[in-house]
């Protein structure tokens, strides 16, 4: 009933839609696995179980909490209500200072210890990571 051209075009449209769906599905699927969630020390305290995936913890670096050794750097992130110990070996950004905002990325060992793989560099002394600001404001 329909010409060959119409059939072909119909086929083409179906194929395009299918690829489109597949692409979006693929992207979203992989997004799910690679997303890093942000949590504050208080939120970590309230966790019921320790998950194995990568997260970000943000807050203030507690005054007098930084101690440096050859292999690692230890410090405490606080949101003035709860705090968490961070163990880190890697590059510290220039603006990493006691009493300033910080975001650490890594894995939770338990509710009190966080193994950081990265500390995020911030570019401005007045700058506070928005997540940290929000987390502090909730208090």
């Amino acid at each position: 009933m329909y010409g060959r051209k119409v059939k072909l075009r119909f086929f083409f449209v179906i194929l395009t839609l299918l690829t489109l769906f597949l692409t979006v599905f693929l992207i979203l699927k992989s997004l799910e696995k690679n997303v890093v969630y942000f949590q504050s020390p208080s939120e970590i305290k309230a966790l019921s179980e320790i998950k194995k995936n990568k997260i970000r913890v943000g807050g203030m670096v507690k005054i007098n909490s930084i101690s440096m050794k050859t292999k690692e750097i230890n410090f405490i992130i606080t949101d003035f209500e709860n705090e968490i110990n961070v163990i880190y070996s890697g590059v510290v950004p220039n603006l990493f200072t006691e009493g300033k905002g910080v975001v650490a990325e890594g894995y939770l060992k338990d509710k009190n210890f966080f193994l950081a793989t990265k500390i995020l560099a911030k570019h401005d002394e007045n700058y506070m990571p928005p997540e940290v600001k929000a987390a502090l404001q909730e208090k």
Partner: protein
């Protein structure tokens, strides 16, 4: 004083916009030739914007702190060069630069399009003026660079020290030339669509503009990347940071558009696709401005978190896109002559296939950049998307992409068959062999790396052969594709063979490992114009007996009081040795990072080759005329 001149020039510029619009509409109806007055008016508009911009520069040079922008971003002890570059190192100034480039481009467009019809030129001018007026109002209403403060402060707040750098001083203007260049493409496409002038001649004419913005965008991204490499001290060149993605997206769209326009010029097909791409390139550039300026993305580029600004750009962008789509749907007629006649093996098919791949890369980057923002608005959950996401989704698809890039240019237009099949196969075997010889000692992800390197080598060898055999035929394309294969190769080898040591050392201590020993000898302190410098001296003894001295530096700026690390990089043709040092308050240990990165310089060279390919087309076009 200068601020006043600047401000009034800006207002005059806006008035000229309205004059131009009125005169153009009148001219569009009656006479047959373009009224010369329009060109003069456009020139005056450009003149006033330049005056305004110079006014701002003069305020910066004079450290006129009665100007709010200068107060917020400058300081008397800052070197002259950075006082000038500070002009566009902030939100207000950089928007003024946008406006400057917008008016500059439309003026050049009018001068360079004398062989086009009057209607087309006027319509392009009108569409461009809509954008220009939008930006005028945006600047004057929400981000006036000439705000006055009283009482006049004695000293300014200073420019963020990591922006005080030569590469970053010229990065924004170059990038903007690319971004804003897409506005001309946008206006011209809309004009051509509404006049039914999407044709071979149009493609030939607009191709130059696409190339110009593409070249500038490529260079702009390169500069930003080089800067990030040596200034941020992370030792990488691309971090999939949202701000970087935002410049990559228009680049991908522009590259796709350029290839499509070639097809349009030769075969008069893909017209709708070209229009859609032109619109999306400009929309992505605007989106980039919106995302970066609105404070949604936080980075060094975020100058102020002002929701009003973001909202304005967003509404403006929606209006423009709506207008564009309206024109596209109601005015665009497909010339149904030889459309749909795609033969599966032809140049246009291979270009189309790679177009789809580019669109896929674009959507991956877009989703990765935008998804966290949406999620936060919808569910107030805060997430970030990192490099693994992009690597996983983009890298595997590079393999067919590279093959199509190698074989596509070998095909003919309309209908073709593969000649010289034998040498294509032989080259493939050679590249596979080369690749295995490199990756044979790898433990992890052997397969994907081997195939990737092989496909990059394949493109590398085939384009190299083209140099030898075809000499100057298609030279620009060969160079650009060759550059791309070199880029992928150097990135891959760099990733695989980089080594990195991160440790904390006191002065006098030595770090020992199998490959090398790092001895921290001493530090030296010096006072410079607006910072204090601490330079470390590190002696590195490699296990093969060679040794070198690296001197990373720390700069403690006076205003604002910020510490920055200056990496010390020993560069040669094969490897970069990269070292940064950092100091943590009240600690004796210095945080040291030492990296050996092979083929780093080839990443920069290959990107330069890619844009050089574009530049050559330009000269060739002139030469042929």
């Amino acid at each position: 004083m200068f601020s006043l001149i600047g401000y009034y020039s800006l207002v005059f510029g806006l008035l000229f916009s309205f004059l131009i619009v009125l005169l153009s509409i009148k001219n569009f109806r009656d006479k047959n030739i373009l009224n010369d007055k329009i060109i003069s008016l456009t020139f005056f508009q450009l003149f006033f914007v330049i005056m305004s911009f110079l006014g701002l520069i003069a305020s910066f040079i004079n450290s006129d702190f009665s100007n709010e922008t200068v107060f917020n971003h400058s300081h008397t002890t800052k070197p002259l060069f950075y006082k000038i570059s500070g002009t566009w190192g902030n939100h207000e100034g950089s928007l003024l630069l946008w406006l400057l480039v917008l008016t500059l481009f439309i003026f050049i467009f009018l001068l360079r399009s004398k062989d086009q019809t009057k209607q087309y030129r006027i319509l392009t001018l009108l569409f461009q003026q809509i954008i220009i007026i939008g930006f005028f109002i945006f600047i004057i209403k929400t981000s006036n660079p000439f705000n006055y403060i009283f009482p006049v402060p004695k000293e300014g707040l200073g420019l963020n020290p990591i922006l005080q750098d030569p590469a970053l001083a010229i990065h924004p203007p170059i990038l903007y030339l690319g971004y804003v260049g897409s506005s001309i493409i946008f206006s011209s496409t809309l004009a051509a669509t509404s006049l039914g002038y999407i044709s071979r001649e149009w493609a030939k004419h607009i191709k130059k503009w696409v190339l110009v913005s593409w070249i500038f965008l490529t260079f702009g991204i390169l500069l930003g990347s080089i800067w990030a490499y040596y200034e941020l001290g992370w030792g990488g060149f691309w971090f999939w940071d949202p701000v970087e993605n935002v410049s990559l997206m228009p680049w991908l769209a522009l590259t796709t558009l350029f290839h499509c326009i070639l097809v349009l010029e030769k075969r008069l097909i893909l017209t709708s696709w070209v229009i859609i791409l032109s619109i999306s390139t400009f929309a992505l550039s605007m989106c980039g401005t919106f995302l970066v300026r609105s404070g949604i993305l936080n980075s060094v580029h975020t100058f102020a978190n002002d929701p009003e600004r973001g909202l304005f750009i967003l509404i403006f962008l929606f209006c423009l896109i709506f207008l564009a789509l309206f024109i596209f749907f109601f005015f665009h007629r497909v010339q149904n002559k030889d459309t749909n006649s795609f033969f599966w093996l032809s140049k246009e098919t291979s270009i189309l296939i790679n177009n789809w791949f580019m669109m896929y890369f674009l959507s991956v980057v877009l989703i990765g950049t935008v998804y966290p923002i949406f999620l936060e608005v919808l569910s107030s959950e805060k997430i970030s998307v990192g490099p693994p996401f992009y690597n996983k989704l983009i890298i595997p698809f590079l393999i067919p992409f590279l093959f199509a890039m190698a074989i596509g240019p070998k095909l003919k237009w309309i209908k073709s068959n593969l000649e010289n099949k034998l040498f294509l196969i032989i080259f493939f075997i050679i590249s596979l062999f080369l690749s295995i010889s490199i990756t044979r000692n790898l433990n992890s992800s052997f397969l994907i790396n081997t195939v990737l390197i092989a496909s990059a080598f394949y493109l590398f060898l085939i384009t190299l052969r083209d140099f030898v055999i075809n000499k100057f035929k298609n030279l620009s394309q060969t160079i650009a594709h060759f550059g791309f294969s070199l880029l992928i190769l150097s990135i891959l080898l760099n990733n695989i063979f980089s080594t990195e040591i991160i440790t904390n050392l006191k002065i006098g201590e030595t770090f020992r490992s199998e490959k090398f020993n790092i001895n921290f000898e001493k530090i030296e302190q010096q006072n410079k114009q607006n910072f204090r410098s601490i330079t470390g001296k590190f002696n590195i003894k490699n296990s093969n007996g060679t040794s070198e001295v690296l001197n990373p530096e720390l700069r403690i700026y006076n205003q604002p009081n910020i510490v920055t690390s200056e990496a010390d990089i020993k560069m040669n043709m094969f490897t970069d040795k990269f070292m940064t040092m950092n100091l943590v308050q009240n600690q004796e240990h210095f945080n040291i990072r030492y990296q050996v990165k092979p083929f780093m310089i080839w990443i920069w060279i290959s990107v330069m080759l890619i844009s050089f390919g574009g530049i050559i087309t330009f000269f060739k076009k002139k030469y042929e005329k």
